[in-house]
Symmetry: C2
Subunit: 340 residues, 2 copies
Amino acid sequence: MNQLLEDLQNKVNQKTKPIGALGRLENIAIQIGLLQNTLTPQLNSPHILIFAADHGLAKSGVSPYPQEVTAQMVLNFVNGGAAINVFAKQNNIALKIIDAGVNFDFDEKLPIIHAKIAKGTQNSLENPAMTLSDCEKAFQKGQALVKELHQKNCNVIGFGEMGIGNSSAAALLLSYFGKLPIEACVGRGTGLDDEGLKRKATILHEVQQKHKKVIASKNPMEILATFGGFEIAMMAGAMTTAAHLKMLVLIDGFIATSALLVANALDSTVIDACIFCHQSEEQRHQKMLDLLKAKPLLNIGMRLGEGTGVAVAYPLIVSAVAFLNQMASFGEAGVSEKSV
Amino acid sequence: MNQLLEDLQNKVNQKTKPIGALGRLENIAIQIGLLQNTLTPQLNSPHILIFAADHGLAKSGVSPYPQEVTAQMVLNFVNGGAAINVFAKQNNIALKIIDAGVNFDFDEKLPIIHAKIAKGTQNSLENPAMTLSDCEKAFQKGQALVKELHQKNCNVIGFGEMGIGNSSAAALLLSYFGKLPIEACVGRGTGLDDEGLKRKATILHEVQQKHKKVIASKNPMEILATFGGFEIAMMAGAMTTAAHLKMLVLIDGFIATSALLVANALDSTVIDACIFCHQSEEQRHQKMLDLLKAKPLLNIGMRLGEGTGVAVAYPLIVSAVAFLNQMASFGEAGVSEKSV
């Protein structure tokens, strides 16, 4: 493995450019070469999976949007009208929409992967969001979906989500995995005002009080079941399997990264397969990135989810692989190297 | 104009996403709509122009690469082996390579725009880099090239450059326009070590001493002639005309931005047409961006020039225009709006 790293670094350094002049693109090229165990990595059949699910907690007023919006946005994805549709089409990324647990009966004929575990999670103010069994079912479903894509020659996969209330679930996961007070973990989600933000923190603090025993258990899967959501559990499973299959894992914003916190707690090697596509404007995303020692590619104030950060950053990843495979070396081009 | 701004903002806000959730992409969409005076902007026939030229100052040891590399890299561009070739091809951007003043006789049959003013500038330690007349000739040539592209329906144009020694010219321009001591303006260019960096600052300080009178003149065109280069003068002219023709102007790194400093001094409205594609790792680029109150799109440690920052950032600009034109509104998609 060290020999490959050395060979990749040499290949990068022999390209007709000053050493290091392509910055992060050089690191990404090398990361993907190592992941794929080759000097000539390829990106095949890129996909973004959008996992959608509802959250019992949404009924407690943690989001300014009504729960119906989750299902409405799934239909918007199906009809091609959402931001992720536009960006995925632009950058030739295939989209799959997964009903992980939306509180709506979708027509079975719609081009959706019907993987509903239940019609939304329980309200974690009262009960764990999911039973441990349902949580594991969601996790395994995510794993199975990725295996299927891998068999179809896909080797790069991004994760998006939709779920009114899911920034609260993500905040609870950040609070646990980051050992941070919940006040430091809540953000405005889809657009809460100051009062709404305060209410959200109070509600989430109550949720934590309710489930003190689970927190003390230090079991990542129990934590995920109690505070997470079906879409987060599926993403966590999907990320784990994708990394094991040496697929490139593209991480979006606050919610997708909360799933990675779980995956990382279960297996810290998962992160070797990950590229952090953007830093969300959602205020606490930076805390998650710090925990994972991750440096995002883009920082352009996006905070939409759906995998949009992945979709717009993807061309940079294509650029990284392209320069490694296509640029001429100093020798090939007859260009003089640095003289001092 | 204010009505158009309001209409553009409303159009953006009616898209199926929380207000502001696409961050900088929203600002860019609105900027391009205003520039093109429309609610449905289009990006037509995108081009990157690479202006190449040599610098008399290179003979004084301000770069670790020999001057021959300028011509060698032009041939590398022609043969498709450079980073900019790879990225432009990836993102469907047409490339034009302009010999603005390379110290080499290129075969006339090569697909180069032969616009050589002279075989490199004078060494500014001894003389002004260009006569005022040659500088104006270069400036006007840049203007003419852009007019030609505009007539062929191109409305988005990025600027790249190649020229061993040109980071010294750019540093001298920054020092003048930013009223900064030269020590605060020099960087490592293509890769100087500490000693080389110190030598570069000393040499450039001598250049400034030599031309004190010109500095006192406060005439931007004289400053450009004395300290700039043929590629910088052509870029400055090209940027000015592109902005006047309401073309979108894509700004690359340290050298391209130095040309914009000149264009901006001649006409401060030029900047309304500009998108700053990336922040160069070349240390003093940030000072230029600060002077222009500019916020770059990417900050991924690139410092190559050639227009590579433009080429890799371009898909983000396409994304901005695409969401404005293609995303569904709340009304169209039947999605509920924010309730609180």
